[in-house]
């Protein structure tokens, strides 16, 4: 429970941490679009290099993130397996147990894996280097033009920031309840299916009840302090756009342009390598 690194802010002080949340949000969006464009393998190699470089810069240990995804591996493998055996276009790559596996299936599955890995890494860079509150300020900023059409930008940002704020609390609470029930002989790992179902019920009900209680308490506390969602408010921390943000955006633009360029001119990178040699 405690080892969940996915989506958690990691308090280092790197260049990436110091960037404006708005820059990082734009960057995330740009890179994600690149990942989902149908780039060829050169494009993926290029994107992977960029992402690995960013991970290094922000001091994130990517292996620990994939380790923390362990519970999802089974499902992933399951899906990939079906992907491999069900796609039946392209040439036959090899035959196993009298069943032919097609090249297209292999390539497409590989593409899914790479895309997922890149996607997880990119979002982790954002969440690990940006405090949840700063993140919501960023989101609110980009949504605020919509206020003209009565879109509740502030309310949505507030809701998101409360939700983010409560993730660690919920995890802590879950851990506490797991321990309390373990002391009453609940065993989450072993036991028959029926026992396991009971064990899960003994966790979920208290968790629900305490979450409802908490949200009610929070709502009351906010009301008691006169919170008014449509009120005009000042902010404790002011977002500042700095020179490094400008550089980050320039570099990112170059990366994105290069990626798109690579799609259309797959030989470009090869040319560069040859030229370097």
């Amino acid at each position: 429970m405690k080892n969940i690194t996915l989506g958690r802010y990691i308090p280092y002080d790197t260049i990436i941490h110091r960037l404006d949340p708005r820059t990082k949000l734009l960057g995330l969006l740009g890179l994600l679009i690149c990942v989902f464009l149908d780039v060829n393998y050169l494009g993926y190699i290029f994107l992977a290099i960029v992402v690995i470089f960013l991970l290094k810069l922000s001091k994130i240990k990517i292996l620990s993130i994939f380790k923390s995804l362990k519970p999802m591996w089974f499902m992933m493998l399951f899906l990939l397996f079906f992907n491999v055996i069900l796609i039946r276009t392209g040439e036959v790559a090899f035959t196993i147990f009298g069943y032919s596996i097609y090249t297209r299936a292999l390539l497409q599955t590989l593409q899914i894996v790479v895309r997922l890995a890149l996607m997880i890494s990119i979002t982790t860079i954002l969440t690990a280097t940006t405090k949840p509150l700063d993140l919501t300020y960023g989101i609110e900023y980009f949504m605020s033009p919509l206020k003209i059409i009565k879109f509740p930008a502030h309310e949505i940002a507030m809701t998101i920031s409360i939700a983010l704020r409560f993730i660690p609390t919920l995890l802590e609470e879950t851990e506490k309840i797991v321990k309390a029930q373990a002391s009453r002989g609940v065993d989450l790992q072993q036991g028959k299916l029926k026992e396991k179902v009971n064990a899960i019920i003994s966790l979920i009900i208290p968790l629900f009840i305490s979450s409802f209680q908490r949200s009610e308490e929070l709502a009351n506390a906010m009301e008691a302090r006169g919170y008014n969602p449509s009120g005009k408010r000042t902010r404790y921390r002011i977002m500042k756009f700095t020179w490094s943000d400008l550089w980050a955006i320039i570099i990112l633009t170059v990366v994105i342009v290069l990626t798109i360029f690579l799609i259309n001119n797959p030989n470009l990178l090869k040319g560069v390598f040859l030229w370097l040699e």
């Binding site: 309840i177 321990k179 002391s183 002989g185 019920i201 208290p206 009840i209």
Partner: protein
């Protein structure tokens, strides 16, 4: 059922920026049948320490012996379920753990997990409810309809129903009404007299003086003292160092002694025993 800690260290979230070593080389032995208090400033590691006793936390290094069970780093001890049947832990704010439809079912949940059927446990549950001052009408009510104090009692009953030989209580009386707190502690004392080993974490020094045979004083994850309550509370320098206030009874007694009265302080545990000693020392004047 003795409890032995051998040089136990515990680190939360190791190798992360949030790393925090909450226990730093803790060693002690609690003998069978003792009533031991654990005190210390908030954050000193009391809750962390007691969660090692039933292997909810495994030490980062060092080891713990509870009867025949050996709790060591990395792997859960064999038969951890049996260990948890023998060593029951009541958490700080245990009302979190309630979830069943009725109070009876919730109290019977623990025993059921250890293989005792609801019918078998029924008489015990009723007995426990009486002992904890809960009306039997509540048996078939939902635990969520109860008041905070009643919930607390149901949660405590849920652990007592397992009938563990070691009972670990993490601030069981925080938030209970004064009478309820005393009643609950009297119950623990009674169970202790019947042979159970009791470990009580608390911030209430009066209870420590009144109920405990011995006290462990924790400071920043290390043991600062392990002695009888009266010796701890008479040691003003120690109290100052760990930031604990002596019970009122002790303060009064110390002032009486400072002003020249001769008191046999080894016997003083509460107001009535203090008064008794005062009367004794004044006996000559009567």
């Amino acid at each position: 059922m003795s409890i032995k800690f051998h040089d136990v260290f515990y680190t939360y979230l190791p190798k992360s920026p949030y790393e925090h070593t909450a226990l730093k080389g803790v060693s002690f032995e609690i003998k069978d049948g003792e009533f031991v208090g654990i005190i210390g400033h908030t954050g000193s590691g009391k809750s962390t320490l007691v969660q090692h006793i039933n292997a909810l936390l495994l030490p980062s290094s060092g080891e713990i012996e509870v009867d025949d069970f050996l709790i060591a780093p990395d792997t859960k001890p064999k038969g951890v379920k049996n260990l948890r049947k023998k060593a029951g832990l009541v958490f700080q704010f245990p009302e979190y753990q309630l979830f069943e439809e009725t109070v009876f079912k919730d109290i019977a949940f623990g025993p059921k997990n250890f293989g005792v059927t609801e019918q078998e446990i029924r008489p015990n549950v009723e007995e426990l409810m009486k002992l904890l001052g809960l009306d039997l009408n509540y048996l078939d009510k939902s635990p969520f309809e109860l008041s905070g104090g009643q919930k607390r009692r149901v949660a405590i009953a849920g652990i007592l129903a397992i009938n563990p030989s070691i009972l670990v209580l993490d601030e069981p009386t925080a938030g209970l009404d004064p009478q309820g707190a005393v009643d609950t502690l009297d119950l623990f004392k009674k169970l202790n007299k019947e042979g159970k080993t009791i470990v009580l974490v608390t911030h209430e020094m009066d209870y420590v003086l009144q109920y405990c045979d011995k006290v462990i004083v924790l400071k920043d994850g290390a043991i600062e003292a392990f002695d009888e309550p009266i010796n701890i509370f008479m040691n003003r320098r120690l109290l100052e160092r760990v930031g604990i206030e002596a019970p009122l009874v002790i303060k009064i007694m110390q002032q009486l002694i400072d002003s020249g009265m001769k008191l046999n302080y080894g016997k003083i545990r509460d107001v009535s025993s203090l008064v008794e000693q005062i009367i004794k020392s004044r006996g000559d004047c009567k």
